[in-house]
């Protein structure tokens, strides 16, 4: 069964088609990657799924329930967590308090949210920095904080928007291990946008390639990276000289 299903989703900005007729699904318990050149519409798809924009056309179903047109907080309540490509920490709050805000989504009491948030912070390797202000974190740590906050809402589906960008290879492997473990132990479904192919190949069981707002290829990583249409979108058309 599919956890997330997009069918014919389109979204334009002042006549510019950012996404047109995107159709794909994310299997329950799967890890899928959404790749494509800059401006392909990846982040727009995330924003449409997360409720930031309503799609102009098409349907989005989460566990069979239509979620297009819901507000972001309603989408979160339904069980979708997301991170932002351009990180948006609560700068004036401590690392722990940032995560508590997310944890309050599922916890009745502030005290319970605090202890759950502390667990997540530890898990993402931010334990030593839990009392620091989020504004004092380095970019890689801010990315971790984005993930920690989203995880604290206990999502069934996690949307990760370039959380590996700017990380060193070892840091990248660390966070990949965290996602793998969450996927294995808790059945967390993940859809990630990523340019770091090291992470994509290590994590994704399935890849969706977007180009000019359209899905041009879908399939297993090994097949997709050999697909001529994909190579063309990244490297340009072959021309006779």
């Amino acid at each position: 069964m599919s956890r997330l299903e997009l069918s014919g989703v389109s979204k334009s900005f002042r006549g510019l088609k950012a996404v047109s007729g995107a159709t794909f699904e994310v299997a329950q318990g799967g890890i899928h990657a959404l790749i494509g050149p800059n401006g392909a519409g990846k982040t727009t798809i995330f924003n449409v799924v997360a409720g930031v924009y309503a799609p102009d056309a098409g349907e989005i179903r989460f566990d069979g329930r239509a979620i297009h047109g819901l507000r972001p907080d309603q989408v979160c309540a339904a069980g979708i967590g997301r991170t932002f490509q351009i990180v948006k920490p609560f700068a004036g709050l401590s690392v722990l308090d940032n995560v508590v805000v997310g944890a309050l989504r599922r916890e009745k009491h502030v005290s319970a949210a605090k202890s759950y948030a502390a667990e997540i912070v530890e898990r993402l390797g931010l334990g030593a920095k839990r009392d620091m202000l989020a504004s004092s974190l380095t970019l890689p740590d801010r990315k971790r904080l984005e993930v920690a906050r989203a995880l604290a809402t206990r999502p069934k589906l996690l949307l990760l928007d370039e959380v590996m960008a700017g990380l060193r290879p070892t840091e990248c492997d660390q966070i990949v291990a965290v996602f793998r473990e969450l996927n294995r132990t808790e059945g967390l479904t993940i859809l990630l946008i990523e340019h770091v192919m090291r992470a994509v190949m290590a994590l994704a069981q399935h890849i969706v390639v977007l180009h000019h707002g359209e899905v041009i290829a879908r399939g297993a990583p090994a097949d997709v990276v050999r697909d001529p249409a994909v190579l063309e979108s990244y490297l340009g058309e072959e021309t006779e000289v």
């Binding site: 997360a50 979160c76 932002f84 609560f90 308090d97 805000v101």
Partner: protein
């Protein structure tokens, strides 16, 4: 209940707070009439500053029209007292209801249609101005000629009708300031407090974490408006006269946000510290000018402005945060 409220508050902070409360409680025993009036004013600004802080300091919504809620609160209770002899404590219901309604209307218009930041601030000014001009022509409350409460020299304190000595008003204001402090402290530690701070720091991220931004901004405005209107009621019964031109004036809105800004926006002690500094400074300057025999109009205001400028330049977060670090209450 008390154990839960004080949990996690540094012991030193509790001791200092208790000491401050005791000082303020015994103050009227030794103060002259003039000093008592200054004390009342300080507490008044600390209280309304705290109320404004709920909106701006916690939820990040800048209101430059809080005189609207002071005025509505004052006029509702005063008019009901003058016309029907109703106790201000009954009138308070109308005051809070009206102010909360006005706050909800402004909030709904702004938040529903995505008016935010400075544009939201302009909207709050506009509503205060509507009220100022509207009340000028509102015959039931005597319009621009002003609404007066019957005054006599009270020898007894009638708390039920708020007729009594300045000492009674001082203690009432002290109780309100302490109450507002405890309420805001509790609010900040609640789910709502976390949500407000999240909205203040990044509404988009708050939304993505499941926070209903519209709802919690509305609640912030309504709570802030309701708290402010209570100060309006006391204001009306303390001064016994109300003019739309004064009470709804924009200078009143500005005046009441200075204490939390100077003290530290978003902090619980900020409005209190700011009120002490500003009112103390203003009255001190007045006294100084008197002693020096300087009688040039505007000198006091220039000094006052200079002092504000210095604080804003050198302590942009307000006086309280660095002071709290000095006192060992914060890292």
């Amino acid at each position: 209940m008390i154990a839960r409220l004080t949990e996690g508050v540094p012991r030193r902070g509790l001791v200092l707070l208790a000491a401050l409360l005791v000082l303020l409680a015994v103050f009227p025993l030794y103060a002259s009439g003039y000093l008592l009036a200054v004390g009342f004013l300080i507490l008044y600004f600390a209280y309304v500053g705290q109320a404004w802080n709920v909106m701006m300091g916690f939820a990040g919504q800048l209101s430059l029209g809080h005189s609207l809620y002071v005025g509505l609160g004052a006029y509702a209770a005063a008019a009901l007292y003058v016309h029907f002899g109703l106790s201000p404590w009954i009138g308070l219901g109308a005051s809070i209801g009206l102010s909360a309604l006005a706050g909800a209307a402004i909030g709904f218009l702004a938040f529903r249609f995505g008016v935010s930041g400075v544009y939201f601030a302009i909207l709050t000014i506009a509503f205060a101005e509507f009220a100022r001009i509207g009340f000028d022509h509102f015959a039931w409350v005597r319009g621009s000629s002003g609404l007066f409460l019957p005054v006599a020299n009270y020898t007894t304190n009638d708390l039920w009708n708020l007729r009594g000595s300045p000492t009674m008003f001082y203690y009432l204001m002290l109780a309100m300031t302490a109450g507002a402090f405890v309420l805001c402290h509790a609010l900040l530690r609640s789910r709502m407090g976390y949500y407000w701070l999240a909205i203040r720091e990044s509404p988009e991220a708050a939304e993505a974490l499941g926070v209903n931004v519209f709802r919690y901004k509305m609640v912030a405005v309504v709570i802030s408006a309701a708290m402010t209107s209570l100060a309006g009621v006391v204001f009306a019964f303390y001064y016994n006269n109300l003019f739309p031109e004064q009470i709804f004036h924009i200078s009143r809105s500005i005046e009441l946000i200075l204490a939390p800004i100077i003290g530290g926006v978003g902090t619980l002690m900020g409005p209190i510290v700011g009120a002490f500094l500003l009112t103390g400074l203003a009255e001190g300057l007045r006294e100084l000018m008197l002693q020096l025999g300087i009688d040039v109009p505007g000198v006091k205001q220039v000094f006052y402005g200079l002092c504000l400028l210095l604080v804003v330049m050198f302590l942009p977060d307000g006086v309280w945060p660095p002071l709290a670090r000095k006192l060992g209450l914060r890292r």
